[in-house]
């Protein structure tokens, strides 16, 4: 994707070995993050997140739906990611589909927990309106505006910001209805329920370049990647999901080491992200 000469490659690799990357960062430092919330008025919640030159939008739309038979007291959440062609000509037509699917599935794995919905970062029980009859369906959509590496972490953080921006309307269910019929609902325009996003995990991707691993790789650095591990970690330090990407194999002991490093990095990252989100919310309320 990125055309680099042998000299440039050597330079990037040498920098990582010496803990001084091409943009002046250390191996475990993130690029500056800026967040804007409420960017898409049609959605129930939205956020635009910039991490260096990587630029993504995440939106949350809530629709009234019917819970599945297996879990009558839970709502449903689906995550879709779209890589826009404006980010890179390789995403044109169906070109972005493979990456979009990879990202969507990785995000689902990291944020939504297992098939039963247990261990999900989003409390699915809070999406229940009436058991077995009505629930909220959340559609989370990510759009990549500009791709400069580390899309998964950026999308995960943007989704967290969008969720904390989301207001789910209060629903009043009609008192009388027969057992077979779908009850009538009245969706309030004024009262909104806010999400508790403190348990939504963040995703930390460690990219392995040579012997070392780095966080928040740019696309130039990603072109060097032999393998990468994405760990999703919540604020209590629990691991919520794992994805290994890239072709090369990793030593099992290195995996454990990478996870513990990711856990350490996540503490700073969550703090930074939370303060950025509250700053963005304050900004939106002020304007």
């Amino acid at each position: 994707m990125v055309g680099l000469s042998a000299g440039e490659k050597h330079f990037i690799k040498g920098g990582i070995d010496q803990d001084l990357r091409s943009d002046g960062r250390k191996r475990l430092t993130y690029r500056p993050i800026s967040i804007e919330t409420g960017v898409i008025p049609q959605a129930n919640g939205s956020a635009r997140l910039r991490m260096g030159d990587t630029d993504v939008i995440a939106t949350v739309k809530a629709e009234i739906g019917k819970p599945s038979h297996l879990h009558p007291n839970r709502g449903k959440v689906a995550i879709f990611v779209d890589c826009s062609a404006i980010a890179s000509p390789v995403f044109e037509g169906r070109g972005g589909e493979e990456l979009s699917t990879e990202l969507s599935v990785a995000l689902q794995r990291c944020l939504l927990g297992g098939k039963s919905g247990a261990g999900a970062g989003i409390d699915l029980l809070s999406l229940n309106v009436m058991e077995g009859k009505i629930c909220w369906d959340l559609y989370i959509e990510g759009l990549v505006i500009n791709a400069d590496g580390n899309l998964l972490d950026a999308l995960g953080a943007a989704i967290k910001a969008a969720l904390s921006n989301t207001g789910i309307p209060k629903v009043n269910v009609a008192a009388e209805f027969s057992a077979e019929e779908q009850p009538e609902v009245d969706i309030s325009d004024e009262d909104f329920l806010r999400f508790d996003t403190s348990s939504v995990p963040v995703i930390i991707t460690l990219t392995k370049v040579g012997k070392h691993y780095i966080v928040d790789a740019t696309s130039e650095e990603e072109s060097h990647m032999s393998s990468a591990i994405s760990v999703s970690i919540n604020s209590r330090g629990q691991i919520c999901g794992l994805t290994k990407r890239g072709g090369a194999g990793v030593d099992p002991s290195v995996v454990l080491d990478m996870i513990s490093v990711a856990k350490h990095v996540s503490e700073h990252f969550i703090m930074k992200l939370d303060s950025e989100i509250s700053a963005a919310e304050a900004d939106e309320a002020g304007s």
Binding site: Q42, I86, G93, D148
Partner: protein, 251 residues
Amino acid sequence: MDHRISLKKETEYISPEGLRLDGRLPSEMRQISAEIGVVPNADGSAAFEMGNTKVIAAVYGPRKVQNWGQQINDQALVRCEYRMANFSTGDRVRRPKGDRRTTEISLVIRQTMEACIMTQQMPRTQIDIYVQVLQADGGTRSACINAATLALAAAGIPMRDLVTSCSAGYLNGTPLLDLNYVEDSAGGPDVTLGILPTLDRVTLLQADSKLTMDAFESVMQLATEGCMAVAGYIRRVLREHTKQLELRRGV
């Protein structure tokens, strides 16, 4: 009684005071704003907003032709892809890529832009124009063309003129400038016009629904005025952008 029902059915798109549903005058455009350089990866990019409609255009090129068979020996190959974000409309619809509406708009934008790019100056190259709709509230075609013009200019691609576009319609016996989604779906005619303002040429003209000859003339006149206003704004934005670049160079 029948009479009252029929009156009620016909929604009033213009109040007795002469104002539209969103409070504009019939000949008033929505607030427009533009920003250059929103996609750092691209050679040129711009975001363009018309009221609640918001689009981003990115231009890659002129660059080597990717598909060798498509290379043209005496001019540049211009390609365009239009895409709507799933969240851009009020109702969530997951539309497949390359449905008919998308293909048609891609084609319209490509033809409109091709008319103003000096393609002969860049033979055997390819210019890609990608437009992404973030919010759709009527007039996406016009917004896309305006964004594409800005992005092409920002990419430094030689053009004959800055093509600008604006739509106009006709409801309740009044010509209306720059229809929003509610007015657009009211069933009246929607005339989208694209012009080269300095060369005084029409490069895009689309209309649906029926319209009398006289009414069309006034609608077209209104749309032309809209295009001219957009052209003035785009010129200002580009000048401002160039000034910024000059400042950064330190001249």
